[in-house]
Every structure is written in C-alpha cells, then in structure tokens.
Symmetry: C2
Subunit: 284 residues, 2 copies
C-alpha cells in the first residue's frame, strides 16, 4: 500500500455496543506494513474518548489481547478506547533471530529503536509506538489524546513502563501485567538489548524501567499484577526489583502478587477489568 | 490412552478465582480420543455446582469458546460450571468431507449419531454429548447434575436446541446464539442430515428444533440472540421459523435481534453474560 497517513480497514466487528476494528497501514517508522487493533466503545456523536494503550508480549501480535484480553465490556462501561499494536515489524526483508528463537526478532521488538545491523532498518518500535501510531489514532479515531493511559503484558509491560516513565506528561496512568521490569538484569533483556542497541549498557538504561527510576524518572503511582505461579517470575520478571526502585523513589507502586496465576491470558483477562477501572479513575 | 472413564489433564489455568481446564479421554462413543474444556468457578469445599453446557459451531473445537467466549467472569460470579465439548470426532481413521468442506465431517458433527457409512463408526456426537460426557463430568468435577442448562452457537445452537428439547427434564434452561433452528430447511442441514442420517426425512425431524416442536416437544421458555448483520441469517439460520413454531406451541421464546452484530465471537462474547444470568436464574 502507499505510504502516508492512510489506514486500511482489515475488519470491523460490533462488540459490546461499540466497534472492534483491525487496521493496517504503511509505517514510515518500521518501513513495513503494520497491523493494529482499536476498540471504540459506544459514545455520543462528536465525543472524544480517553485512550488506553496495551502493549503485548513476546510472540504476540495485536490479535492475542484483542481475542483473549476480555477488555471490551469494561471499555464499553467506562468509555475507553483500547489500542493494541503489534510487537515487531514483520514481512519480507525483516530480519529475525538468527536461530529463530521466540525471544528476539519477529514478535519480540522490545519497544526500542534498534541501532545495530541488521535490525536498525526496521526494528523501530519505540518511534512507532510513541510517535507514528499515536498520530494515526488521533487522526482516525474519536480519541482525546490529552487523556492517555498505557498498560502491557510481559515484554509489553516493559514497554508500558519504559514509555510511561519516559512520557509522564502524556500518560496519566501506567499499569502492567507480569512485566519485565529490569531487562538489563535478566536473560530476555540481556539478549535483546545488546542485540538491538549494542554493548553499551548505559544506552540500555533508557529501556529499563528500574534503571529509568534510578536515573530520576518519576510518576505518581503504578499498578502491577503478577501471578505467583508464573514460570517466568523468578528468572525474567523479578518484580521485587521494581518494588525496591519505587520505594527508593517515592513512587506509589501497587504490586499485587496473585496466588495460583500463571503468565497466560487467563491471568490477564482475570485482572483486565481492575486495570481498566484503575486507568479510568485517572482519565475521567 | 486406555479406554474407560479416566481423563487426562491437558492443561489447567487459574482464571477469575477458579480453574479453566482442558481434558482428554478415550471416548467409547466416538472410538477416538476427545478433548473438552471445563471451567470450575471458585466454590466452597464439597459444594456441587450447576452445569452449563456450551456446544460450538462449525469449524470449532473446545478452544474457540474457551479462549474467546468471555464466560468466566459471569460463571465465577454466578457459581456455574461451564463445559465446552469438541464438535466432531478427530484423528486417524476418522473420515472427513470428501471435498474437505468446512460444513461436514471434521468440525461439523451436527450432534447426531450417524447411521451412514463411512461416518457411522465415529460420528456419534449425540451419544457422546448426551451420555458419555455427562457421566465423565459427573464423575470428575463438583457438578450437580440435577441442575443443568445448555446453550450453543450456530451448529452448536442447533445442538443445544435439539438436545434441550429432547431432554426437557434434564435441562432446566436452554438458550442459543445464532442457532440453526431448522436444518431440514437450510443448505447446511440439507447436506449434513442426509450425509449422516440418510435420505429418510422423517429421521431428520429428531434433529431439527422446529420439527421437534411441531412433533410435540415442549419446554417453558427459550432465549435466542441473533445478530442482524450475520451473513448466515437469511439462508442458514432463519430464526423466524423457530418463532413461528414456538408461537404455535405456546413456548415462551425470547428472540432478540441485535442490530449490527455478526456471527463471530465478538457477538457471542457480548451477550454471553446475559445468557449465563438467564441460565443462573433458572438453575439457582
């Protein structure tokens, strides 16, 4: 498709009185076509609605949370637009992990602008999520861009925390489900950050929520849910590192450890309603 | 796996305070392994809970409604067990539609016991759903089999209506989403019923909700939701035929035509809560 600010409608389905859409556009940031979903709840003509961004985790596209996130009932009740982007560029010419691993390359963009070859050309998810896609959402949907919130799961929780902490004026609230809070200190991040950003660990700190807080980033509060039966908890997620950083910085972190819950969408969907109500209280 | 009444746990995930499980067993009815899902909501030790059966539509397995049906929150609130079976036998030696069509064979068992070769050996979904699986559910889950309800979507709505109308003592309530109400009169049924049951249309009547009512089947009431933007509405679903039969028979049908809604899980999930509350009111 042609480059520009146009978007192509892939599908729309009525749901909970609103419209769940899937859209595709030629991204200038990634140099590829990108697909994303937007749920627009029922609303009065001419109304402008607050926006919740939801960033997904490793291996996901927009489709996982769109199909399994169970966010539409609450978004309809609360009057929230819900935007779900993809997790990486895709398509011909987009390099993947050399070994085809799930935790780097396709489906694993880590919400950074890569500087390392061969990833620097297309893996520009930071610019895509923070600049290009917001402009499209503002142009094509009844969005009030002065009222935005951000959440995400796992790698997408990392994205939500790092983007939210970097743009505290833009996001009135930030939450995450089982986020990677300190990628510099865990295997997923210790593979992805050098792979995309090179060996200089100082550069990684801008993409590490704990490091951002240590370096002075401040928000009023955060909500994090974490399943205690999550197989990634001990090695990859380490929410106590976020708790310690927030305590030192005076950030009011609500960290809820949920007994018996794992890393799946069964966990996310269970607590999605709480997160959306938490955001709505800060947006409306 | 060995034949018998054992079940193998494929997966369990905590969700909404309960457990979403997927199970597999060697079915005597179909002569194949069969997979199904059961959600058990949070409950007091020793409690026996009412059961909602949910039969799925063409091309589906247990997984579609399990992942996209958005039933767990209401089941947890209302204390309902939710059982989602597969829609056909599967596996080596199970014959499919000769042309590989989606509307016959695998994923399209139509909830009948086939009498026609080569389908008669494995396609015994009526016996599976009405006899074998209820016995397993009663044995392995905290189910109160004196309080059962049944619902379904499309072909599964056909299954819910025909099974519910055949066993009115067993099911205290019946509902459906966009059901096939008169398979004898529409293309899907006019292919499936002779394919599984042979040319004698008198035999088809036991698997046709409208014909069952015409032939004397009676229940107190029914709930049916139907999207007005459903592409199968005019040719395959024809809910007015059910409305006419119910009017003649004195069955209190609540038929809700939902403007803008299609045949997808976005439609089902929107109204799932209403159906579960409708069942709960009759079960508890």
């Amino acid at each position: 498709m042609a480059s520009g600010t146009g978007i192509e409608t892939v599908s729309t389905n009525r749901a909970f009185g609103g419209v769940q859409g899937v859209y595709r556009h030629a991204s200038a940031a990634t140099g590829t076509d990108m697909t994303f979903s937007v749920y627009v709840p029922p609303h009065e003509p001419g109304a402008r609605l607050p926006v919740v961004w939801c960033l997904s985790g490793l291996t996901c596209t927009h489709a996982n949370v769109t199909e399994k996130g169970e966010f539409r009932r609450a978004c309809a009740d609360l009057g929230l637009i819900f935007v779900a982007p993809d997790t990486s560029p895709r398509g011909e010419g987009v390099p993947d992990d050399p070994g085809g691993a799930y935790d780097f390359g396709l489906g694993a963009g880590f919400y950074v602008d890569a500087t390392e070859d061969p990833f620097a050309q297309h893996y520009r998810m930071w610019s895509y999520i923070t600049e290009e896609l917001p402009a499209l959402v503002a142009e094509h949907f009844p969005a009030d861009m002065d009222r935005q919130a951000i959440t995400g799961h796992s790698m997408g929780g990392h994205g939500a925390l790092t983007i939210g902490l970097t743009f505290p004026e833009r996001f009135r609230s930030i939450s995450a489900f089982a986020p990677i809070v300190a990628p510099s200190q865990v295997p997923w991040g210790q593979k992805a950050l050098p792979g995309y950003l090179g060996a200089d660990r100082a550069v990684w700190r801008r993409h590490d929520a704990v490091a951002l807080i240590e370096d002075g980033a401040r928000v009023k509060d955060l909500l994090v849910d974490q399943g205690e039966a999550d197989g990634f908890l001990a090695d990859q997620l380490k929410p106590h590192l976020l708790a310690a950083a927030c305590a030192d910085a005076g950030i009011d972190l609500t960290l809820r450890l949920q007994p018996g819950y794992d890393h799946s969408y069964y966990f996310i969907s269970t607590f999605m309603d709480d997160h959306l109500r938490w955001h709505a209280a800060r947006l409306t």
